[in-house]
Each structure stands twice: as structure tokens, then as C-alpha cells.
């Protein structure tokens, strides 16, 4: 399940209206309008800032969909 908070951060970065876009565990970056390889870094930095966490490079590279990203965030927050 993707939290509203994570969805909001992603949509903010991409100038998208959260109510108009469906993001679930299986969603991959290219399926979200505007989420390309270049602004990927901005989205990750925005998530890190908002949650006050720091990911390792390898941890992010291993995320192959938004569900994996959510799990990564959860694991950092609960630490």
C-alpha cells in the first residue's frame, strides 16, 4: 500500500494532481507522467527531506517499483 504522504511528495515534485493519478505497489517510474531518469534524483531527495531519512545508493538502485520504495521508507522510519 502506498501512503498518501509518499504519493503527495512524488506528485508535488512532478507537478501532478494526486487525485488524478493512480500509484500502487506495482507502479514503475516510467508509468508516472514526468518521472524520468533525470528528475528521479529530485524525487528521491524530496522523499529523504520530507521523512528526514538518508538512503544508501544501493538501496535506491534496488527499488524496482514504488512498493519497494515505500518499504524502504518504512524500514528507515521505523529504525
Amino acid at each position: 500500500m502506498i501512503s498518501d504522504r509518499l504519493k503527495k511528495i512524488i506528485c508535488n515534485e512532478l507537478y501532478l494532481d494526486p487525485s488524478s493519478i493512480e500509484i500502487n505497489d506495482e507502479t514503475q517510474a516510467p508509468e508516472v507522467p514526468g518521472w524520468d531518469s533525470l528528475n528521479h534524483a529530485n524525487i528521491i531527495v524530496a522523499i529523504e527531506k520530507d521523512y528526514g531519512v538518508r538512503f544508501k545508493g544501493l538501496e535506491i538502485l534496488k527499488c524496482n517499483n514504488v512498493g519497494a520504495l515505500q518499504n524502504l521508507v518504512d524500514s528507515k522510519v521505523s529504525d
Binding site: S37, L38, H40, A41, I44, V45, G57, L58, I60, L61, K62, N64
Partner: protein, 498 residues
């Protein structure tokens, strides 16, 4: 009998360094049809079929690269075990050690064979010492199979796939002959699961395979080789002997030639693989229809650009992610310098890569202002804007290829100088008259490129409805046509610079 010297026949099937086996040759076509027959006979027994394919692949590589075959086999064996060991451990540090070992082995060999002399020359040039250049022959295809193997190792490291249990399957992935010499740089994660599927082809797949091979031969031999020999080579060999208009046409001609040469070879590889029951990844997608440089790199040599995106750009980008735009730009420039360097150990390739890194960086900086501008004037979906974008992108790419093609840096500048200061547009008419077939081929080449891509699908559909004998006749006709052009005499040098 028939004037055939049978004593020469056995030699035909041995490696000849002056005549490596390539897809365009008649020997290859003959061997490939023999393979297809065996392959069909053993289509029910997966084991035998795969064994036939491996044997053929090893023989093909031997015919193209001689005893470097042993290096290829070593590559397959070691990378299989690196992958296995990485998969067997849950300890991150151990995994990382195996990764370093694999990188050292793969990149070490690549650097040794491809870049040693470049670095020796560099050391000599900046007077750090004087060393003799090494007498090194580049093992054919090493850049391609090294990257293929590394994708397997890196995907295991990134948890994107499990290592395969089967050495045989991995061995086929590395040695698979259609893409070993020139790509596409296929990913193990896509290729391995296809190996044990039973072999059967639909009519559509057969038609697509034949179509790709025919189009590939036409692009490679009829267009690329012809305009290269008859025009492009001549201009780039001595740009100052030609007017600016001819230099410009040679630059455009070279853009077409490079595309037709490389994508033609990829098409043949993909078509051959398809007839053997394997879907390889797409390598070119009408690159000159791109509306921006970043769009171009999603369409040009896709298997390399996506490889570098996944394994070089992304890790760099994550490392520099707190630098804002500067982080992306740094990652882009480093990645594209590597793109250039991958193509060959020379300053010209480095400049070419750097140029694309800079294009991408400028594109990134202009992205925001451009979006605002287009929105303000409601241009986002404008067809005219699209055409202008395509034109600008094509010219930026063609400009970069001057450095890619020119024999040296000074000659690249000569080409640019001639275009800027000695244009002489009137010579265009003389060019069309003097080089009519070349001119027609260039026009046709670009025309086909810009036709809707659905046209190719329609032709493939029609081909798939035809009887197998009709297909065979069409295929033979295309090969005949291609060989006619191949054996045609060079166009004489009709006029010099006036």
C-alpha cells in the same frame, strides 16, 4: 569440374584473419541455412537443439575472431561462477568483493585490449616516460560480450535477478552468435528464460525475421556501404578538396550511413535470433525522428544507452543527488564521456561523447524555461514546433558525428570550415548530376526513415500471409539485388572542386 578448386574448400571453413566471417557474406548465409535445417530437425529435443546452437555459435566466433574464442569461453566460465558465488552469499561485504573481482576481470581485459596503447601514448605525449606501444589485436566483439556479461553480474548484485543454475544456459547467453560481434547488448534477465521454451515459430514471427534480415541487408550493403564508398569516404578523406555544400551533404550522408550500417547489422542479428526462437532487445527506433538529444538516446543504440543508464548514470546520479542540477549534469557528462570512450580509444570519440554530455546538460537546463515558453504560447502539441525540434536535433547529432567520422581532429575542423566559409550552393546541381545514384540513395534512405513506422508492420503482415515459396523467392530476390549493388563498380570520380 565447374572451375571449382576443391583443394581450397577446406580452407574456406577455417579462420582467415583477412576475411572474418560476417553476416553479409555468402558463406554465412549458406552456414545459417544449414543451421536452420538442423535446428528444425532437432526442434523437439531441447537439449540437442541448444547444443547445436552452442556448437554453431562457437564455430561462428572462431571464424570471426580465431583463437580469441578461448578468451570468450574463459569469460563465460568465470562470469558464471562470479554470479553463482554472489548469489550464494547473504553477506553484503562478500557480495561486494565478488563484484569487484568480476569487474576487475571483465573491465581489466577490456581495458588491456582496447585502451592500453591509448594510455601508453598519453603517458608518452605528456612526457611522463617513453614506452613502446604494444602489439595488441582487439578480440572481435569484446566490447559487446563484456557488457553482456557485466549486465548479468550487476543485475545479480542489484537483486534484479537470481543467478542461473545452468552453466549451459549461461554459456549460450554469452556465446549466442547473432549478437556477439555487434550487439544488441542483450540482458541475461531477458534472454535466459527464453532458452528452455519449446521452439515453434508463428507465421508472423517467420515473416518478421525475414523482413528484418532483408531490411538489414538493404540498409547495410545497399545504402551504407554504397554511399560510403562512393561519396562519404572521399569527402572525409580530403574535405578541403570539396565545397561546403558537398561537405554538408557528406555529413548528412554519413549520419545516414552510420545509422544504416549499425542498425542494419542489428536488424540482421535480431532477425536471425528470431528465426532461432529468441527475441533480442530493440536497438534502434527511428533515431532521427527524435525531438531532443535525450529523445535521440532513447532511440539510438538502445541496448548500450540503457546499459549505461542503468549501471553508470543511475549510480552516479544517486551519489551526486544532493548537488541539485549540478549532480545530474556531472553524472550526465561522465556517462557520455564513457559512451564516447566505449566506441574506441581516441580523442575524437571522447570529444564526441563530451559533446553529447554537454548537449544533454544544456537540454536539462533549458527544460524548465522551454516548458514555460511552450505553455505560454500554447505550442506543446504544435506540429511545426515538432518539425523544428526534429530538424535541430538531427543537425546537432550530425554535427557531433563529424568528430566521430573524421580521420583526425584537424580534418573535422576542415569539414566545419568548408561548410561555413566555402559553401558554394551552386555546386549542388553538379553533385546531383555527378553522383545521381548516391543522391537517390541518400534521399530514399531518409525518406524511408521518416515514413510512419506502421508501414513496416503492414508489409510484414502481408509477407506473413504469403506462401513459404513466395517468401523464399522474395528473399532470394533481395539477396540478388544486394549482391548486384555490392559488386557494382565504384562510381568514377566525376568532378573535383571547382
Amino acid at each position: 569440374m565447374f572451375g571449382i578448386d576443391f583443394s581450397k574448400l577446406p580452407g574456406l571453413f577455417l579462420f582467415d584473419p583477412n576475411d572474418p566471417l560476417l553476416f553479409g557474406s555468402s558463406l554465412f548465409l549458406f552456414l545459417f541455412f544449414a543451421l536452420l535445417i538442423f535446428y528444425r530437425i532437432f526442434s523437439k529435443s531441447n537439449n540437442t537443439r541448444i547444443l547445436v546452437l552452442i556448437t554453431f555459435s562457437l564455430y561462428f566466433y572462431y571464424m570471426a575472431g580465431g583463437l580469441f574464442l578461448l578468451l570468450l569461453i574463459l569469460n563465460a566460465i568465470l562470469n558464471f561462477y562470479f554470479g553463482k558465488w554472489m548469489g550464494a552469499t547473504n553477506v553484503d561485504s562478500k557480495k561486494r568483493n565478488f563484484l569487484w573481482l568480476a569487474l576487475l576481470f571483465n573491465l581489466g581485459l577490456l581495458v588491456y585490449f582496447k585502451y592500453s596503447n591509448f594510455f601508453i601514448q598519453l603517458v608518452n605525449d605528456i612526457n611522463l616516460g617513453q614506452f613502446e606501444l604494444l602489439d595488441i589485436i582487439l578480440p572481435i566483439g569484446i566490447s559487446f560480450y563484456t557488457f553482456k556479461s557485466l549486465s548479468y553480474i550487476l543485475d545479480i548484485y542489484l537483486d534484479a535477478m537470481e543467478p542461473t543454475e545452468s552453466f549451459r544456459d549461461y554459456f549460450l547467453f554469452v556465446t549466442f552468435f547473432p549478437n556477439i560481434l555487434s550487439g544488441p547488448i542483450d540482458r541475461a534477465v531477458k534472454f535466459l528464460p527464453q532458452i528452455n521454451k519449446s521452439y515453434s515459430l508463428t507465421r508472423k514471427e517467420i515473416a518478421m525475421g525475414l523482413m528484418l534480415i532483408m531490411m538489414g541487408l538493404i540498409k547495410k550493403i545497399m545504402i551504407a556501404d554504397y554511399i560510403n564508398l562512393n561519396f562519404v569516404d572521399r569527402v572525409f578523406d580530403s574535405p578541403v578538396r570539396f565545397t561546403g555544400v558537398e561537405n554538408l551533404l557528406a555529413v548528412y550522408g554519413y549520419a545516414l550511413q552510420l545509422y544504416c550500417d549499425f542498425s542494419g547489422y542489428s536488424d540482421i542479428a535480431i532477425g536471425i535470433a528470431l528465426l532461432l526462437g529468441f527475441k533480442l532487445m530493440e536497438n534502434f527506433n527511428y533515431p532521427y525522428k527524435a525531438k531532443s538529444i535525450s529523445d535521440f538516446w532513447k532511440r539510438w543504440h538502445i541496448s548500450l544507452s540503457s546499459w549505461l543508464l542503468d549501471y553508470v548514470f543511475r549510480p552516479l546520479q544517486m551519489t551526486f543527488r544532493n548537488w541539485g542540477k549540478a549532480g545530474n549534469i556531472t553524472a550526465l557528462v561522465i556517462t557520455f564521456i564513457l559512451v564516447g570512450f566505449w566506441h574506441g580509444a581516441s580523442w575524437a570519440f571522447l570529444v564526441w561523447g563530451l559533446l553529447h554530455g554537454l548537449y544533454m546538460a544544456v537540454g536539462l537546463l533549458l527544460k524548465g524555461p522551454k516548458r514555460k515558453f511552450y505553455n505560454k504560447y500554447n505550442l506543446t502539441n504544435s506540429k511545426v514546433l515538432g518539425a523544428i525540434q526534429i530538424f535541430i536535433t538531427f543537425n546537432l547529432v550530425a554535427f557531433s558525428f563529424i568528430f566521430f567520422r573524421a580521420n583526425n581532429f584537424e580534418m573535422a575542423l576542415d569539414v566545419i570550415k568548408q561548410i561555413l566559409f566555402f559553401f558554394k550552393p551552386g555546386v549542388f546541381i553538379q553533385f546531383v548530376e555527378g553522383f545521381t545514384p548516391t543522391f537517390i540513395l541518400i534521399v530514399l534512405g531518409f525518406l524511408f526513415h521518416f515514413l510512419p513506422s506502421s508501414l513496416g508492420d503492414k508489409i510484414t503482415d502481408e509477407l506473413s500471409k504469403m506462401n513459404i515459396f513466395v517468401q523464399a523467392i522474395i528473399f532470394t530476390l533481395v539477396i540478388w539485388l544486394v549482391t548486384q549493388v555490392q559488386s557494382a563498380d565504384l562510381q568514377p570520380f566525376i568532378y573535383f572542386q571547382f
